[in-house]
């Protein structure tokens, strides 16, 4: 499996979002169907998607609409568009026949602002956002390790920050044992060194 099974958000076509929650499809078959998805009838009924159900081990319940989150997101988009419009205007709006540096960004930001308003209007109905959970702190930790990597790589090379990052991910974010984490971190860095510095002579800052 790829980097962790991902829960599928319900990507219904924007207009048809919300509606009745899709029922769980027929019992997930063991493993995927051989020759591609079972012949899907033209326009399958919402939810009875044999391809999707081929992923075992998932909760299939789609997300409920979250009006508050959606409104917040829509506001962010609209605000971003508006700020962008202002920034583009200051670059010089120009005219359609003689565009200036800011003409195109202005058009794009204007469209984004309008779309943000549309999102605001449909905030009650859209059902493709997820909530933050207790595990969300892991994200911050993950980003923190990457920030640490960036901060240290210029001064002490990539070996130590990489090893630390791998260790933190393995032990704390991945729940592996101390020994495995430590050993794996060292091995990973050694492999990277061999490939990037040894084989490819990439001029990445390195200590050894």
């Amino acid at each position: 499996m790829g980097p962790g099974p991902a829960k599928r958000t319900a990507p219904e076509a924007g207009e048809a979002s919300g509606g009745a929650p899709a029922p769980d499809g027929p019992g997930a078959p063991d493993g995927p169907e051989g020759p591609g998805p079972a012949a899907a009838p033209p326009g399958p009924p919402a939810g009875a998607d044999p391809v999707q159900d081929a992923e075992p081990g998932f909760e299939e319940a789609p997300e409920p609409p979250r009006p508050r989150t959606n409104t917040a997101v829509a506001l962010v988009v609209t605000a971003f568009g508006a700020v962008g419009c202002l920034g583009s205007w200051s670059l010089g709006p120009g005219t359609p026949a003689e565009p200036a540096a800011g003409t195109w960004p202005l058009v794009v930001c204007a469209v984004i602002t309008v779309l943000g308003c549309v999102l605001l209007g449909t905030a009650r109905r859209t059902a493709d956002t997820e909530a933050f959970s207790a595990a969300s702190w892991k994200i911050l930790a993950g980003i923190g390790t990457m920030a640490g990597f960036i901060a240290l790589i210029g001064t002490i090379g990539f070996e130590i920050p990489s090893a630390l990052l791998a260790f933190v991910w393995l032990r704390f974010l991945g729940g592996e044992s101390w020994r495995l984490s430590a050993v794996a971190s060292v091995l990973i860095v050694a492999a990277f060194y061999a490939v990037f510095v040894g084989l490819l002579s990439v001029p990445i800052p390195h200590l050894f």
Binding site: W104, P105, S162, G175, F192
Partner: protein
């Protein structure tokens, strides 16, 4: 071509043991380079240039060419297995390819990609041998107005390929277009959205954005999910596509080859546009378009065929006109110069052995790649068996180090982390990264072509319609836009008739 003799001599050149060996070396290196996200063929060729000093020009170019199209094969592997597109032309493969991997059909995805790539590459080489000089001249008639319309077509296609909410896809695309404007404006020198950072003066690069949004974003998102999902590796079956998979994809492969060949000849933007166009074409042609984005095998076959065909045909402008069509061609251009073989319109007549030697080596290279893929697919698929907890930090580190190799810049690592955070947030809130990345690639092409066209037309937009090629493309654009509308109106007109039938029939 005047006679078949030079072409046949070319095979003689290729089959010399040294050249065969270097061809093999090239495609192997290329495949490995393609697997490593970030380190692209252009950078690799640059690193390996010193190695080419001591060998014959033909041999050197055979190896370098092998690296290039070998990298296309390799790029698919990370797209499918790790959701990390290393090149702009592999982004579209992610849509269905990675889903197939999560369904345990990674082998099918990689296998059909290998087959499609082989067919696309071979068709392209054959076409190249036959029509190279003719189409090269045609490529020159593509000026800014034509590129504008093509880019517009591309942006429209972007809306088609997504699967999620339309409005959010458009917002993502808008953000992509905006990100493309960052940097020093080519036309006025004004700094746009650079916040006084010199590193942003040349604008953002595709690789940090794509790797951040797709790779790091996905990994961060999975951190949250892990404890919820039942951890258990999906049973990995299908280490090779089945016969019905092949049958299903045959149309996609055929159409992708042609589309890729045609679009690859255009300097700048060929392979990406080709992969998107072929994906969108298949999705529209299909009677069951909702399968796309959920593991449709054509969704992998089409773009992979097209991007390999385009990669091969992008040699045409270089070898027949001496004009490099993309960054990798520019490095190969440099390599030729170093070897004392200046590429130009006279290359074909002055150095027929080199020309045909290189072209014919591509047949061999493609065959070698296909043969190598067979065992390698099984090997790579095993990577998916590694526990996600272990694979995650490895992928993160590959991304961080890999992105550094693009411009030897720590700033790019910062970018990839920033976009990783953005990718996570986008996934949380229902925005798809695909439209953003594709719009980013097309956005700068669209804006600069549009502004150049207006300069050429002295501000008169009617010029788009009066030029023959851009006029034709505009018509095509209108057809593409209006067709679904027409179809809808048509079905509404026939629907009442059906209702009549059911009423009377029942």
């Amino acid at each position: 071509m005047d006679s078949l003799a030079p072409m046949i001599n070319g095979f003689g050149v290729v089959l010399e043991p040294t050249n065969l060996l270097y061809c093999l070396i090239g495609v192997v290196i290329g495949m490995l380079v393609g697997v490593l996200p970030g380190l692209g063929p252009a950078a690799t060729i640059a690193i390996l240039l010193p190695l080419t000093f001591g060998i014959e020009p033909v041999t050197a170019i055979i190896m370098l060419a092998g690296i290039f199209y070998g990298a296309q094969y390799g790029g698919t592997i990370t797209s499918v297995l790790l959701r990390l597109p290393g090149e702009a032309s592999s982004v579209v493969t992610v849509f269905d390819g990675h889903v197939m991997a999560r369904q345990g059909r990674a082998g099918t995805a990689l296998g059909i990609a290998a087959i499609g790539s082989f067919v696309g590459g071979t068709v392209s080489i054959v076409a190249l041998s036959v029509v190279a000089p003719l189409v090269a001249g045609f490529a020159l008639s593509f000026g800014p107005p034509e590129y504008t319309v093509l880019a517009l077509l591309g942006i429209l296609l972007v809306a088609t390929v997504g699967n999620g909410g339309r409005v959010k896809a458009l917002v993502a695309a808008g953000l992509g277009l905006l990100l493309a404007t960052v940097g020093r404006d080519t036309f006025t020198g004004a700094e746009r959205f650079t916040f006084d950072s010199l590193a942003l003066a040349d604008g953002l690069d595709f690789v940090p954005i794509a790797m951040g949004l797709f790779g790091i974003g996905e990994i961060l998102h999975n951190l949250e999910q892990r404890h919820r999902a039942v951890s258990g590796a999906v049973k990995v079956t299908n280490t090779w596509p089945s016969r019905s998979d092949l049958r299903q994809s045959s149309g996609a492969i055929a159409r992708g080859s042609v589309l890729g060949f045609v679009l690859g000849i255009l300097p700048g933007g060929g392979a990406t546009l080709a992969s998107m166009a072929s994906y969108a074409l298949e999705k529209r042609r299909s009677r069951t378009p909702e399968r796309f984005g959920r593991g449709a095998v054509e969704g992998v076959a089409a773009p992979e065929t097209a991007n390999n065909a385009a990669a091969t045909s992008s040699f045409i402008p270089l070898l027949t006109l001496g004009i490099p069509a993309n960054a990798t061609m520019a490095v190969i251009f440099g390599a030729l110069l170093i070897q004392g073989v200046p590429p130009g319109p006279q290359l074909v007549s002055q150095e027929p052995e080199l020309f045909w030697g290189v072209i014919n080596s591509m047949y061999i290279g493609n065959i070698l790649l296909l043969i190598m893929s067979i065992p390698l697919v099984g090997l790579f698929v095993r990577i998916l068996r590694i526990r996600p907890a272990i694979l995650a930090p490895i992928t993160v580190l590959i991304t961080l180090v890999g992105v550094y190799t693009v411009r030897n810049s720590v700033f790019d690592i910062v970018l990839v982390v920033v976009f990783g955070a953005l990718g996570y947030l986008m996934k949380k809130f229902g925005f798809e990264p695909g439209p953003l990345v594709l719009a980013f690639v097309l956005g700068s092409l669209l804006e600069s072509s549009l502004r150049r066209s207006l300069l050429l037309f002295d501000g008169d937009a009617l010029g788009f319609a009066t030029r023959p090629i851009s006029g034709t493309l505009l018509l095509l654009l209108l057809v593409v836009v209006l067709l679904p509308v027409a179809r809808m109106l048509w079905s509404r007109r026939t629907a009442p008739a059906d209702r009549e039938k059911t009423r009377t029939g029942a």
